[in-house]
Symmetry: C2
């Protein structure tokens, strides 16, 4: 039986660049499994069903909630986002480390369900930079933009529930930090109690 | 005022290769400060006073204990080993991360005095390999050899008080793990609470 994988939660305020970081991390660490979320929000240009998200309608999503099929789910603005529980658990049991790239509401639920997961908070260099990044995305009305900023400021307080904080002021450096965190977490004593079972002498 | 440095404790059973790993780590990370221990044991061939250890006599060492000048000290076999408290504290206050390469008795005292230090346990690939490495060192009588092996087996139980376990079965891989642990620990939320103090908007 392989050693169980780790669940690694990448989260942080909207516009911190966690999606970009996550993609770069997966390129450099192809052994990681990415959890694909289910969402009711419409696809953005270029997004592919089953790769970026599983896109579904509200009725189906709410049925999945009732059936307990999510490891976490959240309603953000007017859309639902959720992580299918079964996929994640299968990967972990198979010994794969799984990356969840989710919003802060979702991460809070994962923290309750999986306290031994690794929680990484991605921060934009500063709040002004955060505003710029959200502006550039260009898909926001003025009202939803202001709602996002207020929400982002509120969300920063959540950082105390995370293990690590990575500032996304330099993509390369930030990805290297994520890699280091994963390598380090694989060395955690709590994940390696088998190590002190030394081989018995003899046999050669 | 610079951000305070981290204290990183490298420990593990005799013959696990922690000294070699520590030297390689310092070559790759010259920003780290190495704490030099005081000892009453005689120098081995090639060891330099002030570089490998500060060599001193028992009388002087016991006086330093009485004056509280050690962050930790231990008597191992018939010799004393100790870490001068002042040097470590000065480096940390100056913002430098300090490496302590010490035995398990010493690490236990540091754990009591500095619970926020990072504790890394270095493991030999297996107990047979450990025996071989101690034999190759060639400076042991049969009695002290057997004492060391028994002590090493006993010491493995201490691993539960450590944060990380690194198996020294491949020097390059092991040093990279140590580097990753240091980078990851620098990202710990508890060491970065200043990050959520975002700059106030305006001024540009």
């Amino acid at each position: 039986m392989p050693k169980k994988g780790m669940l690694i939660v990448l989260s942080g305020p909207s516009g911190a660049g966690k999606g970009t970081l996550c993609n770069l991390l997966l390129q450099r660490r192809p052994e990681l499994a990415l959890s694909v979320s289910v969402t009711t929000r419409p696809p953005r240009p270029g997004e592919v069903h089953g790769v970026n998200y599983f896109f579904t309608d509200r009725e189906n999503f709410e049925q999945m909630i009732r059936k307990g099929e999510f490891l976490e789910w959240a309603r953000v603005y007017n859309n639902y986002y959720g992580t299918p529980r079964k996929f994640v658990e299968e990967q972990l049991e198979a010994g794969k480390d799984v990356i969840l790239e989710i919003d802060i509401q979702g991460a809070k639920q994962v923290k309750e369900n999986c306290p031994d997961a690794v929680f990484i908070f991605i921060l934009p260099p500063d709040i002004e930079e955060l505003k710029n990044r959200i502006k550039k995305r260009g898909s926001e009305t003025e009202e939803s933009f202001n709602l996002r900023i207020k929400s982002a400021e509120e969300e920063l307080k959540a950082i105390t529930n995370y293990d690590y904080a990575v500032v996304n002021d330099d993509l390369k450096a930030a990805v290297e930090k994520l890699e280091s965190i994963i390598i380090a977490e694989r060395c955690r004593v709590l994940r390696n109690m088998d190590l002190i079972q030394f081989k018995a002498p003899g046999g050669d």
